[in-house]
Symmetry: none
Subunit: 531 residues, 2 copies
């Protein structure tokens, strides 16, 4: 029996960006889009071009290779033509493959929020879809408040969906905007919508206000929809959107779905989902949810107790899916074999081929475990991981050695009476037995240290000319006085456009930053193949 195709639509960069405290930069959006492509979603909704400078810049070029790059917008305003609506034109002229327009589907909101007639709203939907199709875009309509609207006025809600479909929308997405609808209602209403739009053109967009975002999405699939909208780690306004990181393993591993449907995520991509989920938390500078389904640190952990001995006899009868299938691990006893095969996978990912019987692998595994116990998180710092691995395998030259550094930050009144803060760093470096001392000022201590460190690397100087520090993140790993600081630095070579992440961990933020800076420069030198 051929399986039906189910499409995954990610809105992390649009609806997820509505989360309180989340504010993506263009650069972060680029990094998240890369994560999403690694995961294998079908659509990446990147934002709302024209609504703010970040989104406009993000849509100044196409940012996906495989996924359909989707711009969000609103249907045209009533009382003017599509061609005369500048907001709509901004969306249509963005570098996207598809456009997803939000439209009111609840007559109450049409009246109160839009202040137009029901017919004008239907006209806006029709004209907007037509304009998008004419502009060569795949067109979608997000029917806002669809379920509440359906309960209030089913004919009008259905009319909105039908109008979008007849105008040529590829997808009509039914949104539970307030997040209060329960699975049975979702199932019943989706069933009725299929009298006017076939399920192969319907999508579902849910929120977690009653803890049912995932269950509601699957109830809609059961009822017939074939597109699911969600976000990484359930990011989103209020209680969040449907969590794709939870949905994807269920769709891939539970026969109730995997027997009927196929999705664009391969088995190999599924094995990366734990690492992708954690990498996304690093971008948000959040601690991963340890109890998250499938990908949480304790998702396959059993505390010593009535299950502990039995689970070792036959793990399959105690685990609903195999932890390896989602790239996670059983935590009763982490077997070294399981650890080793994970490690081989990570090495292959950064381009290092080692024979699995190589005895150096055991040493590297021990080192990684030791470092991770100290607070390093290599899944978010590929370059530091690659350096550690290549060093353990004996391949990285010692380009330079830092003998000492000193950083000073002083706030005082200057000669003309202004309060100023001055940061200065001094670094002493040894290259081929020759000591070089550099001093620099910076915006802050880390910047000063970075400037001083890169000021004079002698024969290596030309190889790091294009090096640029583009992001810097700090996280305190365990609150209180014994806190450990983890620093993640993202660097870029402005010539090759290569980007890489390095990590440092220490009780001292300057020390942690220094480690990550040194790793970043060393990585650049290694990739430049300098002698």
């Amino acid at each position: 029996m051929t399986k039906e195709r189910l499409f995954l639509f990610d809105t992390t960069l649009r609806d997820g960006a509505q989360t309180s405290g989340v504010d993506f930069s263009v650069n972060e959006k680029v990094v998240v889009a890369e994560l999403l492509e690694r995961l294998g979603v079908d659509y990446i909704e990147g934002g709302y071009p024209g609504a703010n400078p970040t989104d406009s810049e993000f849509f100044s070029e196409k940012r996906t290779r495989k996924a359909t790059f989707t711009a969000f917008g609103m249907t045209k305003r009533a009382g003017r033509s599509a061609a005369n609506d500048p907001g709509l034109q901004d969306v249509l002229s963005a570098s996207s493959d598809a456009c997803c327009f939000v439209a009111k589907a609840w007559d109450y909101h049409v009246r109160v929020a839009l202040g137009c007639t029901n017919e004008e709203n239907l006209d806006s939907i029709y004209e907007t879809v037509t304009a998008a199709v004419a502009a060569g875009k795949e067109a979608m309509i997000d029917c806002e408040h669809f379920f509440d609207g359906f309960k209030a006025n089913p004919e009008y809600a259905l009319n909105c969906a039908r109008t979008a479909y007849h105008a040529g929308a590829r997808w009509i997405v039914l949104c539970d905007t307030n997040g209060g609808t329960l699975p049975d209602e979702i199932f019943d209403i989706v069933t009725k919508v299929q009298e006017v739009v076939p399920g192969t053109h319907l999508g579902i967009h849910t929120h977690d206000d009653t803890g049912h975002a995932v269950a509601n999405s699957l109830a809609a699939v059961d009822a017939g929809v074939r597109q699911i909208q969600g976000t990484l780690n359930g990011l989103g306004e209020r209680c969040g959107n449907a969590n794709l990181i939870t949905l994807i393993p269920t769709l891939k591993l539970k026969p109730a779905f995997s027997d009927r449907f196929e999705i664009g995520v391969s088995d190999a991509q599924l094995k990366e989902i734990t690492s992708i989920s954690h990498a996304f938390d690093e971008i948000l500078n959040r601690s991963p949810d340890r109890q998250a389904p499938y990908v949480g640190e304790t998702a396959f952990a059993t505390k010593a107790g009535i299950h502990a001995s039995a689970i070792l006899k036959d793990p399959q009868t105690y685990e609903h899916v195999a932890p390896e299938s989602v790239g996670n691990q059983r935590r009763v006893l982490v077997s070294d074999q399981a650890g080793k095969s994970n490690l081989l996978g990570e090495l292959a990912r950064v381009g290092i081929e080692v024979d699995k019987s190589d005895p150096r692998l055991d040493l590297l595994l021990a080192k990684v475990k030791e470092r991770e116990a100290e607070g390093y998180a290599y899944e978010a710092a590929d370059a530091s991981f690659e350096l550690l691995a290549r060093r353990e395998l004996g391949e990285v030259p010692r380009y330079f050695a830092v003998e000492s550094f000193r950083v000073m930050v002083e706030r005082r009144f200057n000669a003309i009476g202004d309060l100023v803060t001055v940061s200065e760093a001094v670094v002493k470096v040894d290259i081929d037995g020759e000591t070089r001392m550099s001093v620099a000022e910076g915006n802050g201590p880390v910047n000063a240290l970075d400037m001083a460190l890169r000021k004079d690397l002698g024969k290596y100087q030309s190889a790091i000319d294009g090096l640029e520090l583009i992001d810097y993140k700090v996280r305190i790993l365990n609150g209180g006085t014994g806190a450990v600081t983890r620093v993640l630095i993202e660097s870029q070579d402005t010539v090759t456009h290569r980007r890489w992440f390095t990590i440092g961990v220490s009780s001292n933020i300057v020390d942690a930053s220094f480690q990550a800076l040194v790793d970043s420069i060393t990585f650049a030198l290694m990739k430049a193949n300098v002698a």
Copy 2:
């Protein structure tokens, strides 16, 4: 129409205690039991008397006033009588009203884990229930692995349930022990179980391994069970148990359930649920989940955007339930587009009443916008927002002024040849015209600065004794050289348990941290009402 009674069974102190990292003391169990009585659950399962000293002591007296105090245990071992099983006798002799015994319901586990015959296991169930009833206890059987067992051998699983029922068990609880079952399967299997046990004697116990613990519980209720087992905030092994804090508002507020069922939680108790949920996190020393359904800090928060103005017109059409009904609050986040009415709402929330025609409001609004343009994010820093507002309204004393500070971080080889990093800060503070100079070392520059700043605040010293920095977050707002650093600090008063967030923004991380530290201390002094 009379409503059917649905019973809530809390297992926070038993299954919740299986959570990795959680280890309740007797005193904590007493405090949690009081919280649970405040909430209004029907059963409180307190632990496993005889299994460890904590649980034995907890069951040395009855710990509930209204709820049925329940002891957990295992069915008697095969090959001996109930009277000769010391483990069972420990449970029966505990000071409890009810006993809940776990029994294997999957023939595979009977053979592999118990090593007895299917008939011996049925006999254990029967004898154990009989013994409990004879001891004057309300008897319950938790059918472990019921759903997986049913799929493997339905007759045997049903036989276990039937045997417990015929022996006189008040409740037969169907457990999805591995947490991998989906709602439709739960519904179907529960429906079939009712051929042997009436729904009024069936309970449901779920885990969140696929994100369906809540949906599965409700599917079981739809199918006929009348007892739900769960925990506060979804505590529990692996991904946690069904979250009663999510389930209770749905049962009380959603007509699909509230029209049919009544539970022991009154409307007044429901209004306490947000506060109970947060109090429980305090006991666990965890930060509350900001996105938790119903009770999360952002559960009713809307970021300024397409919804912000409309939500103020008619909140009910944007909120699935009224935030007040669960003791939570609407939050239209102060942000870029904050208007005066948002600002008034936020001011009221932090306890500041101002007349909306007060001209100082315009000045404050301008100030907030200016600060937010610089990178401040007051939605994440209530204490800094309150200070800014009170300052603009002319109410905050200038307790102390920092004249200058200096921070030094040095990495060098010490006298015995080890590479060490030393951080030292010097702070000069003016209090009532008197200059005080303090120096301190710390783990890093911010810690050293914090130590020096709090070392000698003269007459204010006693007011900040309990002040503790519990989290520190750093974010770089726009990558590259012109980067601005935003620091968020979470502080706590270890005496009052009050927590607050402060913010600092600067191109210099030390400067930004310094601002947040000074705000935190000033906020503590203001709340301590020092002169």
